[in-house]
Amino acid sequence: MNASERAAPQLLPFERGRVRLRDVTLADADLLDEWNRDVEPGSFNDFGPRPPTDREALARGPLRNDRNGLVILERVADGTPIGTIAWRRVTVYGPSPTSDAWQFGIELIPAARGVGLGAEAQRLVADYLLAATDLNRVEAATDVANVAEQRALEKAGYVREGIMRRAQFRGGAYRDLCYYSRLRDDP
């Protein structure tokens, strides 16, 4: 962990426009469990039953370290939680930690979809991760059939890079994954 990553907590909550990222607290555990139970079967994020929220970890502090993190996404207007963003450090691009990247995933509750909040949130998380750490690259991968998420990433300023064929196994079949990224120097 470098100095800038230890300094990251003071950046949260992090907000712009209609959305805010904030740390998960113990008070959110029941809500997260409910959301995890309600993942629509067969949806792009359905990889089977999820374990219960780790309340012991939450009692110790936010769900965030130098390897990964999970934050709550809130609507600024009324402070309502509308979903989560999770990220992890990807270490596949080279032996030096300087080659690491952040890969994130977003989940919005159905009531919050289709009004551009996801795009705003995904721009926000890139800005947050690039401000909070020294890494150069924030990436997201989505199923080629998930056209809504691809549109949201493009609206959020991510660049479409390519398609990793048959990379992900979901719902009994291998799927093509579409890759997007934002770099520190991107406009």
Partner: protein, 192 residues
């Protein structure tokens, strides 16, 4: 990488070696190769695409004495010229995950050839052999390779070896004091 499911998907134990093509073959690394491989590491050209400032590491003699350099997470093989069994370089692979479940694992491969072994098509043949062998030896569905966007010989070689160019991963690799774009190529089991 932990857990039986992953290890069984990505194990290459049923693969038979050596495996040969027209002019090269792939064989397991043995204890007798240790000094040669360390010498290759030391002599790696400073300005090459594979020079990423890796720390010089001694090869684990105890591991080599116990068996080949491959397990459920990674492996390395020697590339030899068929006619005189001269070692030309090595190929390697490691597991990469594209999802939370073990089935979303694939192999990411790499190659290093001695300078005098380049430009003869040995690398193309070695990479095709490696992909064929990995599909036969394991239950993995995808074999991929990434190379610097400026490494045109390797991109031509991967194309000739039957890999499909999938995209450019921007600004992902730190090498020689700057970020570099990488190109990803892949073969999947259903490719002809």
């Amino acid at each position: 990488m932990t857990g039986t499911p992953v290890a069984s998907l990505t194990s290459t134990n049923r693969g038979l070696l050596p495996v040969g093509g027209r002019s090269v073959r792939l064989r397991d690394v043995t204890l007798a190769d240790a000094e040669m491989l360390e010498r290759w590491d030391l002599e790696r050209e400073p300005d090459r695409f594979n020079n990423l400032g890796q720390p010089r590491r001694e090869l684990p003699r105890d591991v080599l004495a116990a068996g080949p350099l491959r397990d459920g997470t990674r492996g390395r093989l020697i590339v030899e010229r068929l006619e005189d069994r001269a070692p030309l370089g090595s190929v390697s692979w490691h597991v990469r995950r594209y999802g939370p479940n073990p089935e979303s694992s694939c192999f990411n491969i790499g190659i290093e050839l001695l300078p005098e072994a380049r430009g003869h098509g040995y690398g193309t043949e070695a990479q095709r052999l490696l992909a064929d062998w990995l599909f036969a030896a394991s239950d993995i569905n995808r074999v991929e390779a990434s190379t610097d966007i400026d490494n045109l010989p390797e991109q031509r070689s991967l194309t000739k070896a039957g890999f499909t160019r999938e995209g450019v991963t921007r600004g992902c690799q730190w090498r020689a004091g700057a970020y570099h774009d990488m190109v990803t190529f892949a073969r999947v089991r259903s490719d002809s």
